[in-house]
Amino acid sequence: MKTESKLTLGGVEFESRLLMGTGKFASSETMTRAIEAAGAQLVTVALRRFNPGQPSDDLLGPLRNLKITLAPNTSGARNADEAVRAAMLCRELSGSRFVKVEIHPNPHHLMPDPIETYAASKTLVKEGFIVLPYMPADPVLAKRLEDVGCAAVMPLGSAIGTGHGLATAEMLRLIIEGSSVPVIVDAGLRAPSEAAAAMEMGCGAVLVNSAIAAARDPVAMAAAFAAAVKAGYAARGAGLMSRSAEAVATSPLTSFLT
């Protein structure tokens, strides 16, 4: 188990173990305030066609004023070739070596395609990217992605945007046990308590988007997630007590009234 105070991804250190996505925010002002409240230092963005009808729709501008590193994703790519092309464009545009490989061809469940994700990750590592693959919660695939040089593995807690929390908890435990790179739970979280639980299990970080962006007060929720991630990480370092099948008294049971 790793208990370093900093999160290290591809040789780059981050104080914050809360990664944040920038989708679904009502305004870029709410988004930037939420990123600040979260203390997030690694932030995901998506690549899309420029829309001449909305030339002022500028995301990069507000983000450049924050002290963050961008991890563009390859969402929209249906296979490894498209993901690699998207990653190259992202690097050209962001100047960041980080890429979140995200290949989910089926819009109904948005489950990542393990075969294409593996192929794209392998190529992108060779191309010099710091690769963060969004992946099914599969310990065998996690090992394979680590072996080809991914800087972390990012298994889903549950399907993107569902808020079903750590539905994959047992698989996550196996992935954490077997991984030498940070395990980052990506997708499905709804409540800060789930982020804390992921950190207590030994995750290196969590990536949160919908749970913050779709909260009634995104800025307050971002701060709540930041506190939960810190608490969960500290608890992991402190070592949780072992479970017992029977009650174990915390007060003396000797009788003193008779």
Binding site: G21, K24, A46, L47, R48, R49, L60, P72, M88, E92
Partner: protein, 66 residues
Amino acid sequence: MNITVNGSQHVHQGNGSLAELLKELNARPDLVAIVVNGRMVLKSERVSVRLRDGDQVEILTFIGGG
């Protein structure tokens, strides 16, 4: 000249430079990546590109995403 930009027909009035095309589309040069006929144009190569009639241009930018 007639070119295709992001899948739509576009009549380019300028001299075929990418700088003029971006100006025409109100796109800030530092906020977009450009692909011409399937090939990514690096920022350093932009000045040397001259568009020709029938070219397929893709202009990409970042939006919010998880």
